[in-house]
């Protein structure tokens, strides 16, 4: 008969048997718990190669002394919770991180504070990892010399939720990550993208807030992405987008809220995207949809107070606009079914002009340009004729 091993708890602290965390880890067996007392620990690089729970009491500080990777995890089933990690080393060659998971499954990283780490949390070829309620605050100044907040590479089934990420290069970075759930994170003030992902299919993003990032959110070369109830706020700049969709197909965007972005959505080569019940408020351009997009369906979205609703670069339109609410709509509804009787053309002539001659922005809202816009509305010549909402709503969609 084999008895199950009894899990024990090992304590680490200045007055305990194990004075360093590494010696605690070395003494532990699979399934043990290593509890770390409050304090300031300067250990070169913690290596976790056993299935243990490593948790800090009162946020003990793990100091990387600007030289080392702080925690490296080499085995599955590890839990790391309640630490404050500071000053990791910096190296673009090795991607030194606060916590880095190498080829492991089922690692849980929760309730940690990471300050001034190069990369924050790095999952390299992991699966079923959970990153929850961490606070990451970087000190990135230059794009080339900074790392990402949560960086995931070649992983699947990740859960990333309730984290706060700021001051890194990219807030959350995904490359070759499948079936991930990203929920309720707040990503703000990162140098480049709040969320950046490439070649990552079947991921779900819900209830996240992306705010004030250098270039907003960028989604590229991915399939079957779901983006639900996220907020995209104040991404300002010529190359800043609330969200940039490039070579994306079969995605769904629902219930997102875009406000005060220079361009809320920029789409290029996007196919079969469904956008429903999103709100676009006070953006420069609500939607820049390039002629290379196909079968994008926009239904029941609210467009309120945007400078330009839709901008495009060509006359080919292979997308559908239906039942949206446009606050610029000036039509009527004779049969009172709450659907406007004449189509709405969301591309204004002036947005086409500004696309061609950016400096013309300085003449925006002058009498003469308003006049040009009105003329164009009656006799469309510059704006794509087929880009229109045939059934615009008279009232807000929701």
């Amino acid at each position: 008969m084999v008895l199950p091993a009894v899990a024990s708890t090992l304590h680490v602290g200045a007055k305990r048997i194990h004075r360093t965390i590494q010696s605690g880890i070395n003494a532990a067996k699979d399934g043990d718990t290593v509890a770390v007392d409050p304090g300031h620990y300067r250990e070169r690089n913690l290596t976790v190669n056993k299935r243990i729970v490593l948790y800090g009491i009162g946020y003990p500080v793990l100091d990387g002394q600007n030289k080392y990777e702080i925690i490296s995890v080499f085995t599955g089933g590890v839990t790391i919770a309640g630490f404050k990690l500071t000053h990791s080393g910096r190296s673009s060659l090795e991607d030194l991180s606060g916590i880095k998971v190498y080829n492991s499954n089922g690692v849980t990283i929760k309730n940690n504070i990471l300050e001034d780490t190069f990369f924050g949390i790095y999952i390299q070829n992991g699966s079923k990892c959970i990153i929850i309620n961490n606070r990451l605050k970087g000190t990135a100044v230059e794009e080339q010399q900074s790392g990402n907040g949560i960086h995931c590479w070649k992983s699947d089934n990740l859960t990333i939720s309730g984290n706060t990420v700021s001051g890194h290069r990219d807030g959350i970075y995904f490359e070759f990550v499948q079936h991930a759930q990203i929920r309720k994170n707040v990503v703000s003030k990162n140098l480049r993208y709040g969320l950046h992902f490439m070649f990552s299919n079947d991921d779900t993003y819900a209830q996240n807030v992306f705010q004030n990032n250098g270039s907003g959110v960028s989604v590229m070369y991915s399939k079957r992405i779901k983006m639900i109830s996220n907020r995209f706020e104040e991404n300002w700049g010529d190359a800043a987008y609330g969200i940039l969709l490039k070579e994306i197909s079969d995605g769904t965007m629902e219930g997102n809220y875009f406000t005060k972005n220079t361009s809320a959505i920029y789409m290029e080569g996007a196919n079969r995207i469904t956008m429903k019940r999103n709100t676009f408020k006070d953006n420069g351009w609500a939607l820049k949809i390039q002629a290379s997009c196909m079968d994008v369906v926009l239904e029941r979205n609210n467009f309120i107070g945007n400078t330009f609703d839709v901008g495009t670069n060509g006359s080919l339109v292979l997308n559908t606009f239906k039942n949206n609410y446009w606050d610029k709509y000036e039509g009527y509804d004779l049969n009172k079914d709450m659907i406007g009787d004449i189509p709405f053309r969301p591309v204004s002539m002036y947005s086409m002009i500004v696309e061609k001659f950016p400096a013309a922005m300085i003449l925006f809202r002058t009498f003469i340009t308003t006049l040009l816009d009105k003329t164009e509305k009656i006799l469309p010549s510059l704006t794509p004729e087929n880009l229109k909402d045939n059934e615009p709503l008279m009232r807000k969609a929701f």
């Binding site: 300002w236 700049g237 010529d238 800043a240 005060k260 972005n261 220079t262 361009s263 006070d282 953006n283 420069g284 351009w285 309120i304 107070g305 400078t307 330009f308 606050d327 061609k356 001659f357 950016p358 400096a359 013309a360 922005m361 300085i362 003449l363 925006f364 809202r365 002058t366 009498f367 003469i368 340009t369 308003t370």
Partner: protein
């Protein structure tokens, strides 16, 4: 001098046109704010009023007023008064009363519905535009003796500032689109007070769109302290220069 100003103001405030102007502003700004469910659309309509109606009323009304008070001015000139102070009093009276009309007509609704930076910028722009177009009107009247011709000149000036100038700039933009025009545009905008006021408001109203590359050039200029100072100085010059020229002209004018 203050006596003349007082008289001019009292005279104008009793004038039916100014009362109608005030009521018109009040009615239209109250409607735009209460009809639209979002305030930004209301502000847009108000922007058009400020950029089109305010200069028009200011320039036409001032022109007509000065022509109509020709006899009164002659009377004043026969008194032991300096011509300069007579002219400046008329200007001050006109500017003060039209600004007051704007303040009551559009300012009150703005302060009630939109007491933000945008609102305040609009309010100040409206007032300075009123004053500028009074100054331009005085220049037009002092240079043309005939009333009909004078009013014609005033209307042409208004048309130029609010329509033709922008058309001309648009033409320039298209013609020279291969060149980096952003900086030049800032300079050109200084040549038209309406444009300058509009850009100042635009930077608040369409801030998201203005943050694009070109917009950022304008924002970097007009949005900063020196830029703001520049715009204020230019706008004040638009009051000062026409006023100074017209005062000089009036001093030696054969009434």
């Amino acid at each position: 001098m203050s006596k003349i100003i007082k008289y001019v103001i009292a005279d104008i405030l009793r004038n039916r046109i100014v009362i109608i102007y005030t009521l018109f502003l009040l009615a239209s700004s109250l409607t735009v704010f209460s009809l639209e469910d979002n305030n930004s659309k209301g502000l847009l309509s108000l922007l058009n009023i400020i950029l089109i109606v305010v200069p028009l009323v200011s320039i036409i009304f001032s022109t007509i007023y000065v022509y109509n008070s020709a006899e009164f001015i002659e009377l004043l000139v026969s008194q032991p008064l300096k011509r300069k102070s007579i002219w400046l009093s008329i200007f001050t009276g006109l500017a003060a009363s039209l600004s007051l009309a704007f303040l009551i007509g559009a300012g009150l609704p703005i302060l009630i519905y939109q007491p933000s930076t945008i609102g305040i910028t609009m309010l100040l722009s409206g007032i300075i535009l009123s004053v500028i177009f009074v100054a331009i009107a005085l220049l037009a009247t002092v240079r043309t003796r005939d009333k009909a011709k004078g009013i014609g000149v005033a209307i042409m000036l208004w048309l130029y500032f609010s329509l033709l100038f922008d058309g001309f700039v648009l033409f320039l933009l298209f013609q020279f689109s291969d060149y980096p025009l952003e900086k030049a545009m800032i300079g050109i905008s200084a040549l038209n007070p309406i444009d300058l006021a509009r850009i100042l408001i635009l930077l608040q109203l369409d801030v998201s769109a203005m943050m694009g590359y070109t917009g950022a050039v304008f924002k970097d200029f007009f949005g900063t302290c020196p830029g703001l100072l520049f715009s204020c100085v230019i706008l004040l010059l638009w009051v000062g220069l026409p006023l100074w020229t017209s005062t000089r002209k009036f001093k030696s004018k054969d009434l």
